[in-house]
């Protein structure tokens, strides 16, 4: 059993107008096997939380802490966080020139495990995982994300999630830009990783649609850089019916 603990996290970014605080004291605890949905309107800081957990250099933690089983995550380099078992499925996966998917997946797996995967079983594992996510076999020979459609990029993120078997995954708006079939395929991948590896999941989304496929244990409503309310799955149903107005009214009041 592992625990990812975020305590009173404050995060700023540098803008042309100076430093701007995006996260204003976020606290959240996720255990292995739990699915937490973070929902909130655009600009509430959801993606900032995701990028900060992964260690994107643009985001500066001004106070608070993130720990993984008591280890200080903020002290770790980006690659060390991944090696420790954290995975970020990105909202906008980057295209990497000159590096094939096959080469990339094997290099990453080797770095994560500290040893190269056994060629024969690895090749089969990749092939099977690609089939389940309905990713065409010739994607293996293409450069990472290069020329992939939005939906294809998201599938490839989930492919990595399944192959790398992280302890905790942060899914940053993985559902955005997906049609209903792709959404189902991607959700099945997340559910498999959840069941097979007892993965803890932080599911960041703007819409409730994905929650029809990935059932959260907890729902947190994010408004203006803070958790405004938390509850069980029923909170998502309420958002579906009433939107974010109730929470936004609290902020402006």
């Amino acid at each position: 059993m592992s625990t990812l603990e975020i305590k009173d996290l404050h995060v700023s970014i540098e803008t042309e107008q100076g430093s701007k605080e995006i996260l204003k004291g976020v606290s959240l605890t996720i255990n292995s096997g739990e699915i937490h949905a973070i929902m909130g309107p655009n600009g509430s800081g959801k993606s900032t939380l995701a990028a900060t957990i992964a260690g994107h250099p643009r985001y500066e933690v001004t106070s608070g802490s993130i720990t993984l089983d008591g280890e200080d995550v903020l002290e770790m380099e980006v690659d060390e966080r991944a090696q420790a078992g954290l995975f970020l499925a990105m909202q906008y996966p980057v295209e990497v020139p000159g590096v094939t998917m096959t080469n990339f997946l094997r290099t990453a797996k080797t770095a994560l495990d500290g040893e190269a995967p056994k060629i024969r079983t690895w090749t089969k594992e990749v092939k099977d995982a690609m089939e389940k996510l309905r990713i065409d076999a010739d994607f293996a020979n293409r450069n990472v994300n290069e020329g992939f459609s939005g939906g294809e990029k998201k599938r490839v993120e989930i492919l990595q999630l399944e192959l790398f078997k992280p302890k905790f995954a942060v899914l940053d708006e993985t559902d955005s830009g997906l049609d209903i079939d792709a959404l189902r395929v991607v959700s099945e991948g997340v559910n498999r990783a959840h069941q097979e590896n007892n993965m803890g999941t932080l599911l960041i989304t703007h819409y409730t649609r994905i929650l029809n496929y990935i059932k959260p244990d907890y729902v947190h409503v994010f408004v203006d850089g803070k958790v405004a309310e938390q509850g069980g799955p029923e909170l998502a149903d309420e958002l579906e019916a009433n939107g974010y107005d109730r929470f936004l009214a609290q902020v402006s009041a």
Partner: protein
């Protein structure tokens, strides 16, 4: 793939239509605009936008010849010299004889290959190469004897024929002339490997017989203080194949002109280049494909990486499809990957077409940077920074390395590239 409108974050396209690297547009025109306003790409050549046919700016009208007086020392304002650091290159531009102790030549070839020398005026010397700039004309004049390596007709040489050129002292002037000839239906790989320190000025001419298959690999693995100017010209025979690969990693200034033309029809000729420029290095490649006869194919691909504040590279690719060259199929491309701030790559594809009756003529250029976002993506998958950089650079340049097809050279170049990446980290 769906065609959705571009998503933007802070004015930068981020959605699925985003190109692989900002600026990586596969279009020479865009690049030239960014890097050099004067490098207005045009089908008239040399930046002239009027539709000239073999006009004043045309590559067809470039001065060539053997009289040094026709090539005064350049000032830097000339089209073909404006990117070059002339002060640094000056030691190879003067009309100066070779220092006999400057450079050592070692030739290794199997017994079926003939090695001899050619003095001025002895054929086939000068039958292919016409000096086209100051450097080439002074090298031609001051190289009394040319090294002549001849592969007889119908001979397939099993091992690469090597010429190891080693500079023995910094600034030591060497004028060199090498004539490579492959007879009808001969097959050979020539490797010219440059190492050490020198002020080296070397011409190479390659005569590719009808139906022959010739590869010339020129490796520039000089010490940091070396200077190298060179003109490599080939004439490709009927139904022959020719491949020239230039790899420039070392040296203070390297400036190579690699060119080919055809003797008849049905030939396939290619030029590939790989370069890696560090701080303070200037690496310049100029390619010229002269489609002077019908129904030939050409392909040019140069790829370079730049790393360090003052790293500098230049690629100028000229393709001339003459009126008589009907049925030509031609393509040229240059791609650069900028790894750090402050580096500068100039890339100028020039295409002149004098006949519409061709199979194809394409050109492309792109310069992109490996940025924080690429690094973050790879590191977020557990790949350490050093390895992430290697992965990208190796992946990018591997396309050229694979063209060499001599395993020992391919392996040693992979090592060199890893060392190049190390240099910057320390």
């Amino acid at each position: 793939m769906t065609n959705t409108p571009a998503e933007q974050v802070a004015g930068v396209e981020v959605g699925e239509r985003r190109i692989s690297i900002p600026g990586f547009t596969e279009e020479g025109e865009n690049l030239a605009e960014q890097t050099n306003a004067a490098a207005d790409h045009s089908h008239g050549g040399l930046g002239e936008s009027k539709p000239v046919t073999s006009g004043a700016g045309s590559r067809a009208k470039r001065q060539t010849g053997f009289d040094v007086a026709d090539f005064p020392e350049p000032t830097g304002r000339e089209e073909e010299w404006r990117f070059t650091p002339l002060k640094k290159l000056a030691p190879v531009l003067s009309d100066t004889p070779s220092d006999p102790e400057a450079v050592d030549y070692q030739i290794s070839a199997t017994e079926d290959v003939t090695v001899s020398s050619l003095s001025h005026g002895t054929a086939p010397r000068n039958s292919v190469l016409q000096p086209a700039d100051r450097a080439a004309v002074v090298a031609s004049k001051n190289a009394a004897e040319a090294l002549y390596i001849q592969v007889p007709a119908d001979t397939e040489v099993a091992e690469p024929i090597r010429v190891d050129i080693t500079g023995l002292k910094p600034g030591g002037r060497a004028n060199s002339h090498i004539v490579l000839e492959a007879g009808t239906h001969a097959k050979a790989v020539f490797v010219l490997e440059h190492r050490g320190s020198a002020a080296f000025n070397g011409n190479v001419e390659v005569k590719v017989g009808d139906g022959a298959s010739v590869t010339v690999i020129s490796l520039q693995r000089w010490n940091k203080d070396a200077i190298h100017a060179g003109q490599h010209d080939a004439e490709v025979g009927k139904d022959a194949t020719y491949k020239h690969v230039a790899v420039s990693l070392g040296g203070d200034v390297v400036r190579l002109n690699t060119n080919f033309r055809y003797a008849a029809e049905g030939a396939e000729a290619e030029m590939y280049g790989l370069y890696f420029s560090d701080s303070g290095q200037h690496i310049e490649h100029r390619t010229f494909v002269d489609h002077n006869s019908p129904r030939n194919t050409s392909n040019v691909l140069y790829k370079g990486a730049l790393q360090g504040e003052t790293a500098r590279t230049v690629w100028v690719g000229d393709v001339l499809i003459r009126k008589e060259a009907e049925g030509t199929d031609s393509y040229e491309k240059n791609q650069n990957l900028i790894l750090t701030d402050g580096a500068r790559a100039d890339s100028v594809p020039n295409l002149e077409i004098e006949t519409g009756v061709i199979e194809g003529a394409g050109h492309a250029s792109s310069t992109g940077r490996f940025d924080e976002n690429h690094l973050f993506y790879l590191m977020a998958r557990g790949i350490p920074e050093k390895e992430a950089r290697q992965l990208v650079v190796r992946g990018f340049l591997n396309e050229i390395i694979q063209k060499i097809e001599v395993p020992a050279i391919e392996e040693s170049l992979q090592e060199d590239l890893e060392n190049e990446l190390e240099i910057h980290r320390n």
